[in-house]
């Protein structure tokens, strides 16, 4: 899964370095290093546009960051854009995402979390909650029901109710379902209320917080 704080993306006009809000300069630097190591190839000589998702970094910090990118990775910063709304459309149609309150990711990785298997369908009015880790459901999550997990939520059936992953603030949490038609999605403090009830598409889908700071839902190919 992509680093959730910064993302390097290639778009039509070249590389973009997308930086999410509510981050300090040291967090950004650490995340950039991680992201570039993850890409595992040289970016020397490339130019990059910095997309700041909110004006939380000061101007001198951005300058410092630019020179650091130049020195350490031989990356030229060709521009800085501070957006108050997402510059690029999300990958799949994602209706409005509301941020309730800023939190930082306090959880460790999903590998160290426990998980609970629920081997039946969650019916209307029922709630399945597992704050300690991830929930795996061998059945459907029906309309009018709720599943909540500290980590990820995996539904091996149709998700028609509401799902709340990362309830302890882990923003890298994801929601995966074989068929996706939820009433409401929440990951950490990001809420996504479908304005129209979505029809299942017949293939598995995954919901996560994208670099554009909205919950995006896209075809699930592999993790």
């Amino acid at each position: 899964m992509a680093n959730s704080t910064v993302a390097l993306r290639a778009y039509g006009d070249g590389l973009h370095l997308i930086i999410r809000p509510h981050l300090s300069i040291s967090e950004v630097e650490a995340a950039i290093e991680q992201e570039i190591t993850r890409m595992n190839r040289s970016l020397a000589g490339a130019s990059v546009q910095i997309d700041l998702k909110s004006p939380t970094l000061k101007e001198e910090e951005i300058e410092l960051l630019s020179s650091k990118l130049q020195q350490t990775y031989d990356l030229t910063v060709r521009g800085v854009e501070v957006a108050d709304e997402p510059v690029l459309p999300p990958i799949a149609a994602a209706p409005t995402t509301h941020v309730i309150s800023p939190t930082t990711d306090t959880r460790t990785s999903r590998d160290s979390e426990p998980s609970r298997i629920v081997a039946h369908t969650i019916r209307s009015g029922q709630t399945e909650e597992f704050p300690q880790g991830s929930l795996i459901i061998y059945g459907d999550v029906n309309s009018g029901s709720e599943v909540k997990a500290g980590g990820d939520i995996v539904v091996l059936g149709t998700l028609r109710g509401s799902a709340y992953a990362g309830m302890n603030g882990r923003l890298s949490a994801v929601i995966i379902a074989m068929d996706f038609a939820p009433l409401k999605l929440q990951i950490g403090n990001y809420v996504n209320r479908s304005s129209v009830s979505q029809e299942p598409r017949g293939y598995p889908e995954i919901a996560r917080i994208g670099a554009e700071d909205v919950i995006i839902v896209e075809k699930f190919v592999k993790f």
């Binding site: 019916r123 209307s124 009015g125 029906n142 309309s143 009018g144 149709t158 028609r160």
Partner: protein, 264 residues
């Protein structure tokens, strides 16, 4: 020892009472002894649908208050052998009865009848817990509407928590025409959501309205599609294996196509 089956739905107006009256009568027509119990205290209807309202002297409330014996409170349906009605009190409300008292009545009735059908009120509160208290099995009635299905789903969850099994589904007021033109959920969609055993599909039948108003359950006139559907469900309840009738193939378009193929 007879079976106690609660007929319930969550949502009101989907056909619980009509289904109880018709299934009770159909089972009696098949030679079983049947007691139908109205658990809708304060809003009783089953007596009207069965055409027995003028013959009620005592109700389940009188039995609970020990005003009369259970056998005296049962109203015999004279049109068929072995069919009895235990009416609900219209003066009281659902909180006047405890689930244990309803269970005691059901347990007594099952010693003398093959089937005890309990007509549950709408809702998930006291009326529902009273109605399901003595039940071994459940029949959930739903129409193919999203609202009825969500309520049925809720009720199925509650029945499962109460360890009432099996839970069988009656899909009522099914309209092949509306399914055909895509404006009604089809059988597969409903079963996909509710995920329980389907025991029968009852097609939309305007005869239900007249039969209710006249107090003659549909199954007495076995010609109508609704009556046939209830007879099939009753047979399945007695353990006969009858395939589920597929109404969907009889859409208007299919009828026209069939007509053309027959001509040639």
């Amino acid at each position: 020892m007879g079976k106690v089956i609660v007929v319930t739905s969550g949502k009101g107006g989907v056909g619980k009472t009509t289904s109880t009256a018709n299934l009770g009568t159909a089972l009696a027509l098949l030679g079983k002894t049947v007691a139908v119990v109205d658990a809708d205290v304060g809003l009783r209807n089953l007596d009207i649908v069965m055409g027995l309202e003028s013959r009620i002297v005592y109700t389940s409330m009188d039995v609970i208050e020990k005003q009369c014996e259970l056998s005296k409170a049962l109203v015999r349906d004279r049109r068929v052998d072995g069919l009895m009605l235990l009416a609900a009190s219209q003066k009281n409300n659902k909180d006047d009865i405890q689930p244990e008292q309803m269970k005691a009545i059901c347990d007594k009735l099952r010693t003398t009848h093959d089937f005890v059908l309990v007509d549950s009120p709408a809702g998930i509160e006291r009326g529902f817990s009273n109605a399901s208290a003595g039940a071994d099995e459940a029949i959930v009635v739903t129409t193919p509407d999203v609202s009825a299905i969500r309520d049925a789903d809720r009720i199925i969850g509650l029945l499962q928590n109460a360890r009432i099994e099996p839970i069988n589904l009656v899909l009522n007021r099914f309209s092949p025409q509306l399914v055909g033109n895509g404006s009604m959920m089809d059988q597969a969609d409903v079963l996909d959501i509710l995920n329980i055993e389907l025991i029968g599909v009852v097609p939309e039948d305007s005869g239900v309205i007249t039969s209710t108003n006249r107090g003659i359950p549909l199954v007495y006139e076995d010609g109508s599609p609704g009556a046939q559907a209830y007879m099939r469900i009753a047979r399945r309840l007695t353990g006969q294996r009858i395939p589920i009738h597929n109404f969907e193939q009889k859409g208007i378009l299919n009828n026209i196509l069939n007509w053309f193929t027959r001509k040639r």
